[in-house]
């Protein structure tokens, strides 16, 4: 049929935006590699050497990976019950989904400042605890790693919830009935059937939240300690304040490698832990 073969060809220009995006992406990666290995003196590994040699930089990367891992696990643990509830209450699913996603309608900066109001030294939580006589001096909930973990977990939890929900929704409810008819109670059915079948979604969530936390900038800047940098904030500082593209690029590449390593590790755990289910 002539129409069928000629139409895609004449509509080929619709690919242009995609090609543009691809070109920009590949261009920036090329630029990143160029900056990382070349500076005004030619080929150089000076910033990689610096990362390997300086203990304070090790700390930054270690903190980045630790915070990202803690955030990923915290988001998964907190998101699971939410996802389960959304799955279990089909009537309320749309409303609950809106509630889960509402934080995303608020700008990241505003949301983060919200945490300042709640967690700050004179914030709602500390004042309440002081009033109740539980504490004498304010708890250090913010401007440290804890603040970063709280802020990131809050921002990223919906990703985890949705990833888990999408897998829960694929579980045939007859499986639960089968389990029940074989003598299992609700918890037992969850533990032996629902949980193993929903783990792939949990792992997807872990991957998304881990990766996003690894590259976090705004939350650590606003809620973290001044001296406690994460890799993202360090790169931001090199680019915006020091104009050191070569150093920033070297950091970005190291961050990318660490992220890849983290994902590979996560995948290995998933393969070991999640039995292969055939659908």
């Amino acid at each position: 049929m002539r129409g069928a073969t000629s139409a895609p060809r004449s509509l080929g220009w619709l690919l242009l935006p995609a090609l543009l995006v691809l070109a920009l992406f590949l261009g920036s990666v090329a630029l990143l590699l160029f900056h990382a290995f070349w500076n005004k003196d030619g080929f150089s590994l000076i910033y990689f050497r610096q990362i390997i040699d300086r203990a304070d930089y090790h700390d930054v990367f270690l903190r980045t990976v630790s915070i990202a891992a803690i955030v990923a696990v915290a988001a998964a643990v907190l998101a699971y019950p939410i996802a389960w509830l959304l799955w279990r209450l089909p009537r309320w699913r749309n409303l609950l989904l809106v509630i889960v996603l509402v934080p995303w309608l608020v700008s990241l900066v505003v949301r983060t400042y919200g945490w300042l109001v709640i967690l700050g030294p004179k914030g709602f939580l500390n004042e309440t605890l002081k009033w109740a006589g539980v504490i004498q001096s304010p708890l250090p909930l913010i401007f440290n790693d804890l603040g970063v973990v709280i802020g990131l977990t809050h921002v990223l939890m919906p990703f985890s919830a949705i990833a888990t929900l999408s897998v829960l929704l694929q579980i045939d409810n007859r499986l639960e009935e089968a389990s029940e008819s074989l003598g299992a109670g609700g918890f037992e059915t969850w533990r032996r059937v629902v949980l193993p079948l929903s783990l792939p979604g949990v792992f997807t969530g872990l991957g998304i939240t881990f990766l996003t936390s690894m590259g976090a900038i705004v939350t650590p800047i606003l809620l973290g300690g001044i001296r406690q940098k994460m890799a993202g904030t360090q790169i931001y500082q090199e680019v915006v304040y020091n104009f050191n593209m070569s150093k920033a690029s070297a950091w970005a590449i190291c961050l990318l490698l660490l992220s890849g390593l983290g994902l590979a590790l996560l995948r290995a755990v998933e393969v070991a832990l999640v039995p292969k289910a055939d659908r």
């Binding site: 007859r174 009935e177 089968a178 029940e180 008819s181 299992a184 289910a277 659908r279």
Partner: protein
């Protein structure tokens, strides 16, 4: 009463304003193979799920071995269930699927292995223990589902159209096996199907359902020979139906006028109360319509053959008679058959005692 009897009293079920079951009374004998047969939407699956405990009746009671099941969750009922889509656990292998119920009960590992081996042997799947569910064929999955629910040795096994997804040949084979397993274990099987042939072949008792009500309960033979209503007659096997009017009623026989002809049938053929002047339906099975010759105490007719279908061992003839179209089913080696052809005339007769007369319609 042997183990696994079910008594259902006045059970009704409504979803919102839609009544799915309307006053079902049914008593199922322990150790028997009972089929709930009916068209889709007749309420058979709902009845099964009520017995299983996945649904609660809107009214009425269900008791198993005399114990009322009101408020008893499925896991505490002495029954197993095979689901229409089988619902095997995809993340567990064959062994763990069959072992599932025993693991829940905390059965000792040695006991679990020996029982899994026994029940996989029973369904012909010995050696498949470590296969994953995705590696099994449709028939094998079917057997795993059966073994899984039988491994706990329930008094009752509920089966919700488990064979409907299989091709005909495999289905016939599994029907034979299912029946033999049921005999061996003497477990009550309650089997839901819309396939009347399947029901006839498997069951001790068939429960024909329609419109949320039980239409008839009986052995396959009773249901076939003595259908309680035109619906049952049409649903179970082929049947010729003729509209008529009751002319006279006496002690021994009833005379019916069909297409201007008077036909006399014995009183024993009457379903319902025959009263003079009432409209009625006269029914006979195709195999009761005999071609060629005649006999005493039979309806004898002249007919024209409109179609002949040779079905291997049998021949189906569609005949145009003064009573309207009739279908005849006869063995392919019937002597008179050689003379028959489409468009030719033939004599036929229907023995009076093979008629069923539905009086109150």
């Amino acid at each position: 009463m042997s183990r696994g009897s079910i008594s259902i009293n006045g059970v009704g079920k409504a979803f919102g304003t839609a009544t799915v079951l309307d006053g079902v009374d049914l008593s199922i004998e322990g150790g028997s193979f009972v089929t709930l047969l009916g068209p889709s939407g007749c309420g058979k699956t709902t009845l099964l799920r009520l017995i299983a405990g996945f649904l609660d009746p809107s009214r009425g009671t269900i008791a198993i071995d005399g114990a009322p099941m009101q408020g008893v969750p499925p896991r505490h009922r002495p029954l197993g269930m095979v689901f229409q889509n089988l619902a095997l656990f995809p993340h567990l292998d064959v062994f763990e699927n069959v072992a599932y119920g025993m693991r829940i009960r905390g059965t000792a590992a040695t006991e679990i292995s020996s029982r899994v081996a026994r029940f996989l042997g029973l369904v012909g799947l010995a050696g498949f223990e470590r296969r994953r569910i995705g590696q099994l064929s449709g028939g094998q999955k079917q057997r795993v589902a059966l073994a899984r629910s039988l491994a706990l040795e329930p008094a009752i096994l509920l089966l919700d159209e488990p064979l409907s997804a299989l091709d005909l040949q495999l289905r016939r084979q599994l029907q034979v096996e299912l029946k033999s397993i049921q005999r061996q274990l003497a477990t009550t099987f309650v089997f839901v199907t819309h396939d009347q042939e399947e029901a006839t072949m498997l069951s001790d008792t068939i429960v024909v359902m329609d419109g949320g009500r039980v239409q008839q309960v009986g052995t396959p033979g009773e249901i076939y020979r003595r259908p309680a209503s035109p619906f049952v007659a049409r649903f179970v096997g082929d049947i010729n139906m003729m509209d008529g009017r009751i002319e006279t009623v006496d002690e021994m026989s009833v005379s019916v006028s069909v297409g201007g002809r008077a036909i006399s049938v014995p009183r024993s053929a009457v379903v319902g109360t025959a009263s003079t002047g009432r409209a009625c339906q006269l029914a006979c099975r195709p195999e009761s319509v005999r071609l060629g010759g005649t006999q005493a105490d039979a309806l004898s007719l002249e007919a024209r053959v409109t179609a002949l279908h040779r079905l291997g061992p049998t021949v189906k003839a569609v005949l145009d008679t003064p009573l309207g179209p009739l279908t005849a089913l006869t063995m392919a080696d019937t002597p008179h058959l050689a003379e028959l052809a489409e468009g030719k005339t033939a004599r036929l007769f229907v023995p009076s005692d093979t008629f069923t007369l539905f009086a109150s319609t």
